[in-house]
Symmetry: C2
Subunit: 675 residues, 2 copies
């Protein structure tokens, strides 16, 4: 028996979605009409029959999550949000793709292909995890589904393949992907490049695989497939939905309808075909509004019911209730920061990756919202603290869904995109780990993290030539500047224990900024003059001298080398300050007076970092670092080869001091600028 | 009947590979013994029974290509190269992972997981393509196989999934991947994260899938699988080879043997087990040398035979012979550059992506070595010139293997890694295309391209906020500085037609440097003062003024805005030079005198680019650009929003001039430095 009960408004509602999408793209004279026309029926069935959400409160915690991974189809989503009763007016639709246009009720930013698919896996992990932690008998508090629409492009991207393999392993039963199999991508028929058997591939990943052969008209088939997908709670589901791109357009079924507005005569013919007056735009029949009003009513009732359940839960499980509601609100517990370790210079030298492990060991008991993991480098990243449990399907015997440590496998890109989904869900602060150099594999996700304001913490170890023997293929050079130049991304390179605590402190306080903690493989001394209060400002004077001849500004593992150089110079009568600048983003947010007191005028400033010197010109007059690739060898020898030693930097410092003395003009801080 | 004829030296040869690998890692006190121990039998069978190569000439063109995608197993490859008679002595093996250690006979640099797999797909495409172009009846000149060893890590990476899907589509019959299925990755048993059915996945991609259940001992089974793989010329093959990681060690079968040297007692026990004296290191029995000497003899004879065939080919097909040998030698044809278009300021404004298409249209007939393609953005990147034929399996009816245009699908990362393989093969200059922003998806491959010196040309269109409506998810901000900071990578941002020709000219002359051509979606005027001779130096004075008050340095689509601003400033009596700096790398290679003549002392220099300002401090005193993300809207409005217009830049220029006048000290070029 079919799950589907037809409604007399179905056809007109679908036609409205289609015509409105075409008008939205047409008015903007820019956008993608093809996918909205093809996906209108499934969107209609999904939203009208299955999806639970409250348009009046788009943040209701147990709402179903919907992700449009083929984000170029966004006209579809905006149209739906309007029809469903979200805060998006017809006038807002008319401002599509214009400056300042609105986007409420969107779970994650998509567009770059494959990201939304992997975000969806993150959303589903979050649901499974929070359900395992907080649901109790009679309190099925967290049980939403995650629905993802994905196109051919998404499924061709490696990030989606990685995420799909992991999702299958994790048996994420509440994840349902609808694959818009329209045989078309920008280059034309998918026959030119994408002829794999997608169903067989997802079976290989361990997914439930369903299909609907006529996605253009078979509403009952669509409904049955979604119902079947929901029933199987032991596996994620992909529904291969055969659709016609641009359905209703004269060029339907071709890439001609993918990425450009339809022509006026085509729009008119399409509207006529769907029973709409050809000369009217942005027409929404009252029957359509009335039909979708039911969605809002249902959602409001569901939320009210859930709120009651949550209140009852609070009576019976006050501690869990307090913790869950705190997490939903995105608030850290009081005094959590008291658990951060503090160091004295006499404490033993340690690798900053180890210092990171010490922080994690201290804070994880305080912060249950931390959900960590590594891309198969756990023992190197030092991200799994003692007694932590793996996030695993219970059937594997390797952990539980309540576990807080995710084994991402060698899948950096998916890891980054999944972490974005974890944060988007709410109640979770994800941290993820790999070598700093391999964040580049995940650039697409990291960029979206920063753009969307996802609080994701990257534990990025082995952060320079200091990793030694693995050599140039593993030694970052350009990675740091790439991350520093990414807006709203905090790149931290702490020099010792106190600075590592500071980096975690700011990263955990920054609710809408991702952070990358760049950490050493090699041991670093705890420095005289390092302090938490300075480090949380992003930069501070580690070693002060009055009337200095030189300031060396440095980060991470090179700060102790700068200190050593300063000592040697001092012995020769060259007074040298040392500034530690662990986070440019954070330092740039300090007031001008403070910044100018740290990087002050009067003497030349020399930067030192075992990475590319690009970018350091902003904070220094002279730069010392790598001008090319690193080298393979024991790390001390590699540092020597590149002249990053106390004695060579002292020699470089002398040269700098002499040069500016000869120049004779006053030395002005590089921070003093006209614009 | 088995393909395998046992040899009495088989066991001792395999034992030598194993013990020598262990000694190499032990002496370095760093490295990965596990995979070499597990892969020794298959390596032995492959090299002794199948692989065609001449150790005395590692560049013989028709050699079989061997790629160790699980590059951490490189001790295995170095040991083999030594035993097979390549220029690698026992002393060289003792210098493993030390500064200056040698790596001859390696086809591609691997290590970052998944790259070698995709490089292998590129090598196989190159073979199929050159065979289709040059082989003739009786002249099977180019028919080598490409063998790839890959581990669990490689197969988890998205870049390998993308490449595998494309390889299946392309039916690359001469590609044979051996999957080291040892159930172990760094985090332990692959059961923690990688439980998909790999065989089924590759069947879904259209591969031939074989397996060998006892890769530790079943030499005949290994041989039969390779023989069967070679027989099927209609599909790529993956052989799932079940092995025991660290075979022979006390900790065999665990991740304990993956990435650290074996302990002394373990090494002694292992040697005893394999019949070697436990107290000797780097021992190679003469029987092993004698056995592998046959490999060298066979290879030398095969090359001699091939050289004769090539000579006979030259008699019968002199034109093809001349072209093929020219391509193998990596020489461009005489006077090819005469075909590059030249422009006058009166020529119509065009988008630089269109100017790129005009160049490609002009040079493709001159340069058959160009093998192009796009990641499903052909119509936007404008990379397919008229009448070009798709590189496709003939059975698809969509093209031929002689075709020069590859449909990569939405697979940027694989595209980049495949292009590295295409270039590594020889005789081919690959160009690939996507939006500039999505090069970030391929960062892992781009970095290796620059590190390994692969001449890959990226046609990177839609290179700024100038793409307009697609918005911040598609608008690069940090991408340019990330690429500019990558050593040995030439990032070009041409301002008009002449500069586009210059960018292609240098990119095509640079045999061991990848280039990224950053190109606009929007139209750009041909500029008064732009010239090829200046642009090929990476930077030049586009508009000169004596005793200037200001210099504006800019690139690409913003140069014409700088010119407009300079005109406005001139009208107010502020003399403004304009410098175009399309390629930092190329400009930095010019002599100091030239560079100082372009970016000279005497007046402030203001940089202008619709991207992050990071890095521009190296070339300018003041920087104007984006300080955050872009915005969605018609592109002119987006430029206005960010103040990148002639009139606003003129206002900024005035401010800069005033500031440095008030400062009162001489303005020194930012290129004048102490170090
Ligand atoms: Ca499609
Ligand atoms: Ca493995």
């Amino acid at each position: 028996m079919s799950s589907f009960t037809p409604n007399q408004a179905d056809d007109i509602a679908i036609a409205t979605i289609r015509t409105l999408s075409v008008d939205v793209v047409g008015k903007a004279n820019s956008g993608h009409p093809g996918a909205p026309l093809g996906l209108a029926p499934v969107a209609h069935v999904l939203f009208s029959r299955f999806l639970k959400a409250n348009p009046k409160n788009s943040k209701w915690f147990n709402r179903d999550r919907f992700v449009l991974s083929n984000g170029h189809a966004c006209a579809l989503q905006y149209v739906l949000l309007h029809l469903l009763g979200y805060q998006l007016s017809l006038d807002d639709l008319k401002a599509f793709r214009q400056l300042g246009s609105k986007t409420p009720g969107i779970e994650v930013t998509t567009g770059p292909l494959g990201q939304g698919f992997a975000n969806g896996v993150g959303l589903a992990i979050a649901q499974a995890h929070l359900a395992a932690v907080y649901n109790k008998d009679g309190f099925n508090l967290i049980n939403n589904y995650t629905y993802v629409f994905a196109g051919d492009g998404c499924l061709m991207e490696g990030v989606a393949s990685e995420a799909a393999s992991l999702a299958g392993h994790l048996q994420l039963g509440n994840l349902i992907v609808i694959y818009d199999d329209n045989h078309i991508s920008i280059d034309g028929d998918t026959a030119v490049a994408f002829t794999e058997n997608v169903e067989q591939r997802f079976l290989a990943y361990g997914w439930q695989v369903l299909h609907v052969n006529d996605g253009d008209k078979d509403l009952a088939g669509i409904s049955d497939a979604i119902a079947e997908a929901r029933k199987d709670s032991s596996k994620p589901t992909i529904i291969r939905l055969r659709t016609t791109i641009g359905y209703g357009s004269k060029a339907q079924g071709t890439h001609g309808v993918h990425g450009s507005p339809l022509k006026a005569d085509d729009i008119a013919a399409l509207k006529t075909k769907f029973g709409f007056p050809p000369d009217q735009t942005f027409l929404v029949p009252q029957a359509t509004y009335d039909f979708f009003a039911e969605f809002g009513k249902r959602g409001a009732a569901l939320e009210a019911e859930w709120n009651s359940l949550l209140a009852a839960y609070g009576q019976k499980y006050p501690a869990e209730h307090a913790e869950l509601t705190r997490r939903i609100a995105g608030k850290l517990p009081e005094n959590w920061e008291k658990s951060l370790p503090v160091y004295k210079p006499t404490d033993a030298a340690q690798a900053s990756r180890k210092l990171s492990e010490i922080v994690l060991t201290a804070i994880i008991p305080e912060l249950p919202e931390l959900l960590g993991g590594s891309a198969d480098l756990t023992g190197s990243n030092l991200t799994k603290v003692k007694n932590s449990v793996d996030f695993q399907p219970p059937s594997t015997g390797l952990g539980t869904y309540a576990g807080t440590y995710i084994r991402y496998g060698v899948r950096e890109h998916a890891m980054g995109a999944i972490a974005n989904g974890l944060h988007a869900y709410g109640g979770i602060i994800p941290f993820v780990a790999t070598f700093l150099n391999f964040i580049s594999y995940a650039s697409g996700a990291v960029r979206l993290s920063a753009l969307s304001g996802h609080q994701v913490i990257w534990v990025a170890t082995h952060d320079s030539i200091g990793l030694g023997e693995d050599g140039p293929t593993h030694q970052p050079v350009e990675t740091a500047i790439a991350l520093r130049a990414t807006p709203n991304l905090a790149f931290w390179r702490p020099a010792d224990g106190n600075e590592t605590s500071a980096a975690y402190y700011i990263a955990l306080q920054s609710k809408s900024t991702p952070s990358v903690l760049s950490l050493s493989r090699q041991n670093l001394p705890n420095l005289e003059g390092s302090h938490f209060e300075g480090a949380i400002r992003g930069g501070y004077v580690l070693h002060e001298e009055a009337n200095e001849d030189l300031t060396i500004v440095s980060t991470g593992s090179e700060v102790s080398i700068a200190v050593e150089a300063a000592g040697k110079l001092k012995a020769e009568g060259i007074k040298t300050r040392v500034v530690s600048l662990p986070s440019w983003l954070t330092f740039d947010q300090q007031d001008q007076q403070y910044r100018l007191s740290v990087l002050r005028s009067g003497a030349p400033i020399l930067s030192l970092e075992a990475l590319s010197t690009y970018g350091w010109q902003k904070y220094s007059h002279e730069q010392y670092g790598l001008t090319g690739w690193g080298a393979s060898g024991p790390y001390q020898k590699v540092y020597e080869k590149f002249g990053i030693t106390g004695s060579n930097i002292a020699a470089v410092g002398r040269k700098v001091v002499d040069f500016y003395k000869q120049k004779g003009t006053p030395v002005v801080s590089p921070l003093v600028k006209a614009i």
